[in-house]
């Protein structure tokens, strides 16, 4: 296994400097395709040539996926160039997941081989009238001798037209219910031409070149062995799959954040307003630093959340919802703020940086919508409130022991992912949230010897206090299937923020790289990034925090160097193509 950073740098090198309009996958080319709403086929081929799809297939099926950090980092690297391409190519990951989580039949193995060979796979869940309501799925798979006949329409499906394979959620029992659905693997090449038709691509707000279309089946025959998993377990398979894909989708947001920060920093450095560089006007700098802090908070959550696929597999129903809710939503807000900083240039389609900003701003809005929108994810948290609250009370009251602190520093090699550990409900609560007392205590102990850590230890303590209050509110919640009060969603938002803070703390404690000689050093020194991200969490929880000029300076230093010298805007040092080609 190659480590995720090395992989991302290798991909960056392969793709080349996106500012060079002669590259096949340049900003200029992406802008042009977006304006004409054309599919980015060249860029997708470039990714396939490099072998990105090998990270979409688990090692046990012949792929190279052993650590989910790798696909997240790769998707992020593509997304920072063009979200349309990341979504168009990464879709195969989503399409395949259902097959990787079930018994590896010969069909599944064949699918894996074809994915590795570069065939796109589409994932057909949603229908015109039902959106996220999967239990209302109408597409029917009627059992016939030797297989099934699929009938009905799937709509707003990424790559429905271009994908060779489609994994389709179907109703196999007329009454539906939790055991009434199955996922069938459809190879369009095996269907007769009258058995299906692809619907025209839909015109969209963003990702305008993507193939978001649909497919209608007319009693399309598939063989028995196209059934993925045991009969009647399709819905469960889909919900398990979503726990992985929702977490990985956050890579798209991180890439959008990288891209927007780079554009905003470039503009702010070049722009003169009121006789100063925009960068030097305090209000503009605050906007940039808040955006950067939010971006780093998202990254910390994604790093810990992705790792959780391996070491907190049972909790992914919670973690995936936290990640999928928080990261796209906060990134949307960040992009809005940076758009205001850019002013008129945030709206120009061709006259500033090829219109990159307005494109990424529109493109990114899809991330909070697909694969379960914000409300669906908050709902997933609310549904688990009773158990989460009960476990959290015990976790938060347990004494922080040195042994517990040890556990915060996980084995650097990812534990192998075991799909059988996925669960629809986090039966043991959220150990991520539960790690807070231990982390806060560990940080306080460190601060006792290193006074420069005292302020951040203070913030961590306030996070813990606030978490107690949030858990108390969760405890008071009375479950009700669909009549969830608006205030309850707010509690779920606060819970998600507390989890993000817990992730940041855990990451900082477990992973202190020491001096690397890279622009990310000032972030780690004196826990500056942790301070900045906890401050943002507390502000979102309506707790005001004192300003910290040293933290601001450290973040500004890191951000300036990362965007100026060709490094990813990241906690982890990683060169971008711009830096590699220097």
């Amino acid at each position: 296994m190659r480590d995720a950073t090395a992989l991302a740098e290798s991909l960056e090198r392969h793709l080349g400097d996106p500012n060079d309009p002669d590259h096949r996958f340049s900003f200029a080319r992406s802008a042009e395709l977006d304006r004409s709403e054309l599919f980015p086929g060249d860029a997708c081929r470039l990714l396939t040539d490099w072998g990105m799809q090998h990270q979409y297939v688990p090692a046990w099926l012949g792929g190279e996926l052993t650590d989910f950090q790798a696909p997240v980092r790769l998707i992020r690297a593509v997304a920072r160039r063009d979200l349309t391409v990341a979504i168009a190519h990464g879709k195969t990951f989503l399409g395949g997941v259902c097959a990787w989580l079930v018994e590896p039949t010969s069909r599944v193995k064949a699918l894996a081989r074809d994915v590795l060979a570069g065939h796109p796979v589409s994932w057909a869940l949603t229908e015109r009238d039902h959106g996220s309501d999967l239990l209302a799925t109408e597409v029917r798979a009627a059992p016939v001798p030797g297989g099934y006949h699929i009938t009905g329409e799937k709509w707003l499906i990424n790559n429905a037209t271009r994908g060779r394979y489609v994994t389709v959620l179907t109703r196999t029992h007329p009454d539906g219910g939790s055991r009434g659905f199955d996922v069938l693997l459809v190879d369009k090449e095996e269907l007769s031409s009258s058995a299906y038709e692809c619907l025209p691509a839909v015109r969209l707000h963003g990702i305008r070149g993507a193939d978001i279309s649909g497919i209608t089946f007319h009693a399309a025959h598939v063989d028995d062995d196209c059934l993925l998993g045991e009969p009647g377990k399709g819905l469960e398979t889909v919900l398990h799959s979503l726990q992985l894909t929702r977490t990985l989708c956050a890579g798209l947001s991180l890439g959008a954040g990288d891209h927007a920060l780079a554009l905003a920093m470039r503009f702010a450095a070049e722009r003169t307003l009121y006789g100063r560089r925009l960068l030097d006007l305090p209000q503009a700098r605050r906007t940039l630093l808040d955006a950067y802090a939010d971006h780093l908070l998202s990254e910390a959550l994604v790093l810990v959340g992705t790792r959780a696929i391996h070491d907190r597999t049972e909790e992914m129903s919670v973690i995936s919802a936290v990640v999928k809710y928080l990261v796209p939503w906060r990134t949307d807000a960040t992009l809005d703020a940076l758009g205001q900083l850019l002013g008129a240039r945030s709206q120009l389609v061709a006259d500033f940086a090829d219109g990159q900003f307005q494109k990424l701003h529109r493109d990114h809005r899809i991330v909070a919508i697909f694969d379960g929108n914000s409300l669906v994810n908050l709902h997933a948290l609310v549904n688990q409130f009773p158990i989460l609250a009960r476990k959290a009370r015990a976790q938060l009251e347990a004494p922080a022991t040195p042994e517990a602190a040890e556990r915060l520093a996980p084995d650097p090699a990812a534990a192998p992912f075991d799909p059988t550990r996925l669960s629809l409900v986090a039966q043991h609560g959220s150990s991520l949230l539960g790690s807070l007392p231990t982390s806060v205590r560990a940080l306080a102990d460190l601060a006792a010897h290193q006074p420069s850590l005292a302020p951040v230890a203070g913030l961590a303590h306030r996070v813990l206090e606030r978490t107690h209050a949030v858990v108390a509110e969760m405890t008071g919640h009375r479950p009700s299937r669909h009549q969830v009060a608006a205030e309850t969603f707010l509690v779920a938002e606060e819970f998600a923020l507390c989890c993000a803070a817990a992730a940041a703390l855990e990451l900082w404690i477990a992973h202190q790289p020491g001096t690397t000689g890279t622009p990310s050093d000032p972030l780690w020194q004196d826990a500056h990034w942790l301070h900045a991200t906890l401050r943002r969490v507390l502000e979102a929880l309506a707790v005001s925090c004192p300003p910290s000029p040293q933290v601001d300076e450290a973040l500004f230093d890191a951000l300036t160097r990362q965007t100026g010298e060709g490094w990813s805007t990241s906690l982890l040092p990683q060169r971008t193509a711009e830096g590699i080609s220097r």
Binding site: H205, L273, R276, P282, Q347, D351, G355, R365, A485, A542
Partner: protein, 572 residues
């Protein structure tokens, strides 16, 4: 001094034709696919990056430009608030049509009404009546809102000669004339620029080069262009006002349009609410309609409350222009900052209800996405949020010390049944004094006895916030009063804008005899939403309040009434 406060006469209500009913009727039901000026056609024009000729014809036939001409010059502009309400049907359908057809002409004209000679004013009135457009050629991409550093030069030789360039200018190609902001001095002070109203057909043919069109992500129907001037000779009589008075004139005149444009933009949220309410009533999820889900109802109710709050704010600011033309500048900047901000937030929240439908540029809800693309240009155009806050900040210390004493506002400020005196353009002034009528009215309102536990809690919070703001503004050091102001100072200006909104909502609600603000639950919702922007509470409406407010929304949606304060019949 508030002028004309005693001269006003209470009338029974808006006289016929003062609202938007005329234009609503001419445009008809936008949801009807067969309507040639309905959403289907407007969206198709947007896809083609063009304006819709049939829609422009409606405005031509209605004599839209005459709305921009003061009644003293023979036009239909009497009250700025009614001007906006009469034009709002356009923004309900297509903000790009409103901006592309007329609003920039209005922006150019207000400068001439403010500082032009009598000849220029009469000529402007004549040409607008003939249907001509005027481009407002201020913006230079290199300087943006920092327009005192614009570099386009005007030199006086035998005639005036212009050098430089203007970018992202609406209608610059098709307008017969341009209002050009150009430098006649060498410094960056407010007296180094002048205004020129130039008719292209009367200026030299040499020296003017048009730039290619700018494409934007939103407002795609607007014809945004640019021009380069190289020694472009323009007639001697082009100068508007005295040489060197350009910045002064513009800052005075734009107070009018900075209050008006956000008032027009409320039409976009009005439509968005109608669209989302239709969706919520028909879309089924999990065995219910979306409208059955408490979260959706609460979100819609909150957006409606936000719309009402902003309607109170801009209306009062616009009326203040008439009642105290020398005292309205800060309020108008607050409107231009806060209204687009609130609109954008509300649209984001509403988009969550639409889910994937928000993202589609086709189908029954496509207009919602267009509104989301158009709105950012409303926020950015005509001074962005930061520039507006920056124009408020320098005044806060003096106003806090001397302008925030309780002084009763004239009844006409908040009560739209009172007819206003004509707008005295020449009396518009750059804020300098100590009077702050909207804040003073808030001080009065907060002195009243507080009744009802929930209302008292909110009013206490406002009083606390106002007192804290006063203290912080009074102590604001000189370095914080300009572009180097820190983020905390910008927050003061933001809170100030929200408190002005509180003032106007309390003021309007106090005298209201009809409409949603008669309902105490609606007032509670409006205040609760504003309180959250001041850091008090979460802004989530309690179930009882939300239900009550939501019932107003569904009733208006069913009856085809605007979601704005006036609840006028629309979309028929």
């Amino acid at each position: 001094m508030i002028v004309g406060a005693t001269a006003t006469t209470p009338a029974r209500g808006p006289t016929p034709g003062q609202d938007g009913s005329q234009l609503e009727h001419r445009f008809g039901d936008p949801f009807d696919d067969a309507n040639p000026v309905g959403f289907r056609s407007l969206l198709e024009a947007d896809e083609q990056h063009s304006s819709l000729p049939a829609a422009e014809d409606v405005l031509d036939a209605w004599g839209c430009n005459e709305e921009f001409v003061p009644s003293g010059l023979g036009g239909r502009w009497r009250q700025t608030d009614t001007l906006v309400r009469r034009l709002r049907p356009v923004f309900r359908r297509d903000a790009a049509l409103g901006l592309g057809y007329g609003v920039t002409t209005l922006m150019a004209a207000v400068n001439v009404w403010t500082a032009g000679s009598s000849d220029q004013q009469h000529r402007m009135a004549r040409e607008l009546a003939q249907g001509h457009k005027v481009a407002v050629a201020f913006h230079e991409l290199d300087h943006g809102n920092d327009f005192l550093r614009n570099t386009t030069m005007a030199r006086r030789t035998d005639r005036w000669r212009l050098d430089g360039g203007k970018q992202v200018i609406n209608n610059i190609d098709r307008a017969r004339s341009l209002l050009v902001f150009a430098r006649t001095g060498t410094g960056n002070a407010s007296r180094d620029h002048s205004l020129f109203w130039v008719h292209k057909d009367e200026a030299a043919t040499a020296g003017l080069r048009m730039l290619p069109r700018y494409e934007t992500a939103g407002m795609r129907g607007c014809l945004l262009g640019g021009a380069e001037f190289s020694d472009w000779a323009v007639p001697d009589n082009s100068l508007v006002g005295a040489e060197g008075s350009g910045a002064h004139t513009a800052l005075r005149a734009f107070q009018v349009t900075r209050a008006a444009l956000p008032g027009l933009a409320l039409g976009q949220l009005d439509t968005a609410l109608h669209v989302v309410t239709r969706f919520a009533g028909t879309r089924r999820l999990y065995g219910h309609t979306v409208g059955d889900l408490p979260h959706a109802r609460t979100t819609i109710a909150a957006a409606f409350a936000d719309l009402l709050a902003m309607d109170c704010l801009w209306t009062a600011a616009a009326r203040l222009l008439h009642l105290a033309p020398g005292r309205a500048g800060v309020a108008s900047a607050a409107v231009k900052y806060l209204v687009p901000r609130v609109l954008q937030d509300a649209l984001y929240d509403l988009s969550q209800i639409l889910g994937a439908r928000f993202y589609l540029r086709e189908g029954a809800y496509a207009v919602f996405g267009k509104i989301c693309r158009d709105i950012p240009l409303v926020a950015l155009g005509h001074a962005g949020g930061a520039a507006c806050l920056l124009s408020i900040i320098p005044h806060l210390p003096v106003l806090a010390r001397r302008g925030w004493q309780p002084i009763e506002a004239p009844a006409a400020l908040f009560d739209s049944r009172h007819t206003l005196p004509d707008l005295k353009f020449e009396a518009l002034a750059i804020p300098a004094g100590t009077a702050d009528p909207l804040a003073a009215a808030l001080a009065v309102a907060l002195e009243q006895p507080r009744q009802g536990r929930a209302r008292k809690e909110l009013l206490d919070a406002f009083a606390h916030s106002f007192a804290a703001l006063r203290e912080q503004c009074t102590a604001l050091p000189p370095v914080e009063r300009g572009p180097l102001a820190g983020a905390e100072t910008f927050r003061l200006a933001e809170r100030y804008a929200v408190l002005l909104a509180v003032s106007t909502c309390l003021g309007v609600a106090r005298g209201v005899t009809a409409g949603a603000l008669q309902d105490p639950e609606v007032v509670h919702a409006v205040l609760l939403r504003l309180a959250a922007r001041l850091g008090h509470g979460t802004g989530v409406l309690p179930a009882k309040t939300a239900e009550r407010v939501y019932s107003h929304v569904t009733q208006r949606a069913e009856e085809g009434l605007s979601m704005c304060l006036d609840a006028e019949p629309i979309f028929r």
